[in-house]
């Protein structure tokens, strides 16, 4: 065998022309086998993956709503109405909110997941809001790619995170808090990330506060109407 025959481009040795049928059929067969395998693995892994995702969400919601007895997923539609479900296919247009209830069935607060650009990339967070008192319950950063050791303190710095408990929106990120309600001390060296967190909550509430408050006043009216 001469050296020339073993170059990459000439192997494996094949007849001058492979028929189109053979090419299509072998690619088709390989594709079908691959598809079958993937569907099989997908079927096996689907359940644990979804269970994990639901668990992560459940933990986050209970954390920012101070351990409600149960919570319900509701949708805020683009025209501001709150619905228990939306027509299939339009979920992406509506905003999901999670309303928490205590053991007696009273609505205690609402958790909202939202995100916007931080210093590096999108920051995603969830916050709990109590429309009755008009105060935040808690804030938890779910995803961030901020600078490790600096900007990512918005997730890990407990002193920063705990400031959101009982804060009155609209919030303001400041360098030195004067004690006014709604003031959040920005993290030293991570002012931009801190401001992004505050901005996400402010903008999210500006959009959702009215429908949420309307829903809660209706809910309490319904409760009073009942014996």
């Amino acid at each position: 065998m001469s050296e020339g025959n073993v170059q990459a481009g000439t192997l494996p040795p094949s007849p001058e022309h492979t028929s189109s049928f053979k090419m299509i059929s072998s690619l088709g067969a390989a594709g079908a086998a691959a598809g079958l395998l993937i569907v099989l693995v997908f079927g096996v892994t689907k359940e644990p993956i979804e269970r994990y995702k639901a668990e992560v969400l459940r933990l986050a919601v209970s954390e920012v709503l101070n351990d409600p007895a149960r919570y319900e997923t509701l949708y805020v539609t683009s025209d501001g109405a709150i619905e228990a479900s939306v027509p299939a296919g339009t979920e992406s247009e509506a905003k999901k909110i999670y309303v928490g209830f205590d053991a007696d069935g009273h609505a205690t607060g609402v958790a909202v997941k939202d995100g916007a650009a931080g210093f590096q990339d999108i920051i995603t967070l969830i916050y709990g809001f109590d429309p009755t008192s008009g105060k935040l319950l808690a804030m938890k950063v779910l995803e961030n790619k901020e600078t490790p050791g600096l900007g990512d303190a918005i997730e890990k710095d407990l002193a920063f995170v705990s400031q959101f408990e009982q804060a009155t929106p609209p919030l303001a990120a400041v360098k030195r808090s004067t004690g006014a309600p709604g003031e959040i001390d920005a993290i030293t060296g991570a002012t931009i990330s801190s401001r992004a967190v505050v901005r996400i909550i402010n903008e999210s509430l500006a959009r959702l506060r009215a429908p949420i408050e309307a829903y809660f006043s209706q809910a309490s009216a319904r409760e009073e109407a009942l014996p």
């Binding site: 210093f119 600078t147 050791g149 600096l150 360098k175 030293t188 060296g189 002012t191 931009i192």
Partner: protein
């Protein structure tokens, strides 16, 4: 024909007594007043930090430099060390200053082949590394102490360990105050240097005088600092005229942060700046525009370091684009 490669320009040539060590040592000498002002403002901490960064710069040169002895004696590593030290806050742990110097020389100079081969200014590369590695320590400015002898921070933190957080944080340099709290600092304080900041970030006036001395001795290309400072002044004056509430005044822009130090001592590094006069103007204007852009619209409060490093990367292209034509070559080419 081989000899023709050596001919740079037409004769006559002047034979000068200047060689690399002479120039380097005169730069070291002209840095002395800047160092002295740093010690005046920040006390013994300033000297310690400078000593650590110089030691850091010399260490890889002594260990790994090909002609170790020579490159030690020509003083270039000492300049790198001093310049790096001047960009650091006085309270930084000494081991960090040492590491920055070692990184700057090791990865910024020796891996390229030593003096004259590097693309980026080694002092700024060391500083960029420290900024990326220890972003908190390098932006911690302890409040000025009443006692001149007192250390400015936890200089003696054990190597690889975090510094203790100082009791009182002044929190911000003039640029930081501007960016995050929209407060300006009085111009006189800025010019004389009685502000919080890195060692060499304080007295713009002294740096200007030292630069003028070097330029007069022709050890410094005056076109570079002139074009940087002019660009910053003009660009900020335009913005200030448009919206004086939002943008700082040109005087503030010129005398705050590390602009003076960068423009006079770092951008003018002979190895990493263009060789042609036209190239120097382009280089300087580019740095000036980048400095203002990063300071005003970037995430960081100071942009001199990245502005110079970015323009360093463009120097080979600037050199090629501004190569003077051989006399008569254009005509010869245009005629068929």
């Amino acid at each position: 024909m081989n000899a023709s490669h050596r001919i740079v320009t037409a004769s006559p040539h002047i034979k000068a007594a200047d060689d690399t060590p002479t120039i380097m040592w005169s730069v070291v000498a002209s840095l002395a007043p800047v160092v002295a002002s740093a010690v005046y403002f920040f006390g013994p901490s300033a000297l310690l930090v400078l000593a650590a960064s110089v030691a850091g710069a010399l260490a890889p040169e002594a260990l790994l430099g090909n002609r170790g002895a020579r490159s030690l004696r020509d003083g270039s590593a000492i300049i790198t060390g001093v310049l790096l030290g001047l960009t650091l806050p006085p309270g930084i742990p000494l081991w960090m200053a040492f590491l920055g110097g070692a990184f700057g020389i090791g990865f910024g100079k020796l891996v390229y082949g030593g003096l004259g081969q590097n693309v980026f200014n080694p002092a700024l590369l060391g500083r960029a590394f420290l900024q990326a590695a220890f972003p908190v320590a390098i932006t911690t400015w302890p409040a000025a102490s009443k006692n001149w002898w007192a250390l400015q921070g936890d200089n003696f933190a054990f190597p690889l360990m975090s510094p203790k957080v100082p009791d009182a944080l002044s929190g911000a340099t003039p640029l930081g105050l501007m960016k995050f709290e929209q407060t300006s600092t009085p111009s006189l304080d800025l010019i004389l240097g009685s502000t919080s900041g890195s060692l060499g970030e304080t007295s713009g006036l002294i740096i200007l005088v030292c630069g003028a001395y070097l330029a007069a001795r022709k050890h410094l290309e005056w076109r570079i600092p002139a074009s940087i400072l002019a660009t910053v002044a003009v660009f900020s004056a335009i913005l200030y005229a448009i919206d004086s509430a939002h943008y700082p005044s040109p005087v503030f822009a010129l005398f705050s942060g590390g602009l003076m130090l960068g423009a006079v001592f770092m951008a003018t590094d002979m190895v990493t700046s263009p060789v042609t006069h036209r190239g120097c103007w382009i280089f300087g204007v580019g740095i000036g525009l980048l400095v203002v852009t990063i300071r005003l619209w970037g995430g960081l409060s100071e942009g001199v370091m990245y502005a110079i490093l970015l323009m360093n990367a463009l120097v080979p292209f600037i050199n090629r684009a501004t190569q003077p034509r051989t006399f008569g070559a254009l005509e010869a080419e245009s005629k068929p």
